[in-house]
Amino acid sequence: MSDSGATVVASALRKVFAGPGGKPLAAVDGISLTARTGELTALVGPDGAGKTTLLRMVAGILAPDEGELHVLGIDASKEPQRIQDRISYMPQRFGLYEDLSVQENLDLYADLHGVSQAERRERFGRLLAMTDLARFVDRPAGKLSGGMKQKLGLACTLVRSPDLLVLDEPSVGVDPLSRRDLWKILQQLVDEEHLSVIVSTAYMDEAERCAQVFVMHQGKVLADGTPDALRQRAKGLTCVVAPPEDTPARDLQARLIDATDAIIDAVPSGGSVRYIRQPDADSEQLARLLGGLQPKDRPEELEDAFMMLLRQHHAEEETKTPAPDVLSDKKTAARHDEKPVIVVRDLVRKFGDFTAVASTSFDVRRGEIFGLLGPNGAGKTTTFRMLCGLLPASGGHLEVAGVDLRTARAKARARIGYVSQKFALYGNLSVRENLQFFGGAYGLRGRALHARVDAVQTQFQLQPDAISGDMPGGYKQRLAMAASLLHEPDILFLDEPTSGIDPLARRSFWRTITALVQGGVTAVVTTHFMEEAEYCDRIAIQDAGRVLALGTPREVREQAGTGHDADMNSAFIAIVEQARAKGHEAGAEKAA
């Protein structure tokens, strides 16, 4: 290799797998790229872009089908072991041995990498301090929270200074606080040890920290360059507009995002709507869309450039967002009925002597989108399961759709729809078969069942004969929602509905929810994408089983003291940190 300034050099790289239905699928389809030494290089792209496959080839555990790949000057297809002796790799799901303690996991990897005892002492001390795991060295890795596991995984990959650090979505499924910590550690190592890092991510704010960014989609590199250079693509197209006083931002956002010929992308944010307009958008049409509202220009961000690239690439296969009219007429109730449909009072759930949810109270009103947010282990899922009647409460009062869940769970269930986090439909059945089965399970028969199945199929634009398991993530999501709406529930529960689907599918998901809610349905959603809180009427932030903040996104931001236009991410971090600091003080007083 002549180019000593590069860690990874790929040219016309290709990797083909057997796709659904036996068709070959090029996960990496002719990628050429160069990652420079001593820098952070980011691969960004939605799920299925080929990031993981590319990184696995770099790590020498997948052999390229075509093209050349040199890592640290070594041919990856010929001598993978020589590469593996010099790099450190953290797969998306880092293989921690859950029955070994934190210390034992670290020792194992240090031994495997041949780290000397003297070196180890210094290194472990630093890693444990950085990851804040020093208190837990004797705890089995399986008993750490999700964020802590991820930090331990990173520590295990960093038991020595590798010539190249390969990280595959290190922050996926990690709460904002742990995510911030992870990146602090990375930045520190790059600054102090001039580490070369190649990292894949779905978060734009993480890509923003890297020297070079490759935007990937469906096995190809759509664009590359510094974050600054990429951002320029959206220059002059980015605006922000505030909705009229009495309408939620998401309604305006829905109107904008539907107008695909004038608007590339729109998201609610900080009570307003941020959008990107089409470069050739007709100004009259824009003005009509905005209905007299005055937009302001805003600085372009990497996210904007990314969304533009995806939309351009997707234009030809663009699928229209599922239409609003998903329920029959009888459900078009008045919006914002003040009567709460969910009443939670002093809800408690204990597992043994562990309190997962501690005296939690809130109401959800009819026609509202209510968001439950919190870091891993905050008690979101437990709260959620109790609301759906899947888990009995240890104490407190719980009323859903006017029914006391402690006495009449089955009755309440008939009024609610539930979309679980994992795809819980039958992968080897077709769309129609799945819908017919679930319709039957909800007690629909004969003509009524037929009519409902047909209705949701059309409304969610699903192919009746498609095999469910072979559909892309976004479509599975739609099918799951379609199934949960068959019996026309009043309340829809969605557990992490947007994890693992790409940004475009996420936009379209929220568009559907907005439409449903306009039709009178109440939606309760958990999410770890903080920016998605902006779609909600009200949110509750949970940590360690307690509700820390409750209110509209604006009220929560006020409570956080981060200012009106701050993003939800920083508001969230501020609130959790304030609460934890208070907890520490209280603990200290108790100890004294």
């Binding site: 555990i61 293989g95 041995y97 194992l108």
Partner: protein, 376 residues
């Protein structure tokens, strides 16, 4: 990589495997408690011996000679003779499943005894053919002894030119089934603990994603295989010791061959069995499938086709061929020979050679499944 690197990694990996093994209770239960349960179950519960077999004797002749025959049956612990007044009654009892056999002494028995050509009729209950065969042997034996006595008394005067067969069973003089079942049990236990325990090891690491992280380290595939074998070899050796103790002191099976050879042969088979499990584990990459496969391809055939209970020479050629391919069959032959017949250099060398070959092939195969790639 230097040699010290190899040692350091081996120690680290082995320590990891030992810790995981000790912290997984269910694993230890399968490894240590299940063998004990099997020893007791098979040792006491599975016996092919027949004792106190109910036999009806229909006496159409009531002469002293005929009564002596009845008395002869009473003298053996294997048969419980009962007197039946007539054939109809005896047949009814046979139909009701109360009898293993009917012995009918014809009315002209004493006359023929005098002539030296007496006959008795033996009707066997063939519902359980193993028992029927045993009973046939016992009845025949009792009659032969009786005939000998009578011939003695007659002093050859009755011309008694009959040839008398005197049988002796070598190696298992009393024909006690635990004698050949318990050595076979050693084979079964080694197979079960070996293949079943290790079948989960690699699959578990695939499922939990730990292999992907391990692959991108200086670790070599062979190190992964060896480090997984070592802790389970120890468990296997403990099981072997338990089996030998039980064989010697609980079931009082003779150990006629050299103990050293038995231990070495068992060790060899243990490695075969463990590597078989690892290989299955590496191929399936799925714990459920791996454990099913391990049961189907090692434990079940070892039970049915290795000659544990059924003699392989009596089965169709195809089945026999399958049996011959199993390492368990070779170890079964070896261990039964060593326990009951004693050291036989030719058999020991041949079977140990075959087992060593299996061990090598399976370790190489298991190592191949751990080639550091996610490609299938």
């Amino acid at each position: 990589m230097s040699r010290s690197g190899f040692m350091q990694r081996m120690v680290a990996l082995t320590r990891k495997e030992v810790r995981q093994m000790l912290r997984d209770r269910s694993n230890l239960a399968v490894g240590l408690l299940l063998p004990i349960a099997l020893i007791l179950l098979f040792g006491y519960g599975l016996s092919l011996d027949v004792e106190h077999s109910p036999v009806a004797v229909v006496m159409d002749d009531t002469s002293p000679a005929a009564r002596e025959v009845f008395a002869a049956f009473q003298g053996t612990p294997y048969i419980d003779p009962t007197w039946a007044p007539d054939m109809q009654q005896a047949q009814r009892r046979m139909l009701a499943g109360e009898l293993d056999a009917i012995v009918r002494i014809p009315s002209d028995f004493s006359q023929h005894v005098a002539n030296g050509d007496a006959k008795v009729q033996l009707l066997l209950n063939g519902v359980d053919s193993t028992t029927a065969t045993s009973v046939e042997g016992y009845v025949g034996g009792a009659l032969a002894t009786q005939a000998l006595k009578m011939a003695d008394r007659a002093g050859g005067k009755a011309g008694g030119g009959g040839v008398v067969v005197q049988q002796r069973m070598w190696f298992n003089e009393a024909g006690i089934s635990t004698w050949y079942l318990v050595p076979g049990l050693l084979v079964l236990i080694m197979t079960l603990t070996g293949a079943f325990l290790t079948s989960l090891l690699i699959a578990r690491e695939w499922e939990r994603g730990t292999l992907e992280s391990l692959f991108v380290t200086p670790v070599r595939p062979l190190e992964l295989v060896l480090s997984k074998l070592i802790p389970y070899v120890v468990i296997g050796l403990i099981d072997m010791t338990l089996c030998l103790i039980a064989a010697r002191w609980l079931f009082e099976v003779p150990i006629r061959g050299s103990l050293t050879v038995i231990v070495l042969a068992s060790f060899l088979y243990l490695v075969v069995s463990l590597s078989m499990g690892l290989f299955i584990s590496g191929v399936t990459r799925n714990q459920f499938q791996a454990s099913q496969m391990a049961l189907l391809t090692s434990f079940m055939p070892a039970m049915m086709l290795s000659g544990f209970v059924f003699d392989l020479r009596n089965v169709p050629a195809v089945i026999r061929g399958i049996g011959e391919v199993l390492p368990a069959t070779h170890f079964m032959n070896l261990i039964k020979t060593l326990f009951l017949a004693g050291d036989n250099a030719a058999i020991v060398l041949r079977e140990c050679g075959i087992l060593a070959l299996y061990a090598t092939v399976l370790i190489v195969a298991a190592r191949r499944t751990l080639r550091k790639t996610l490609d299938r």
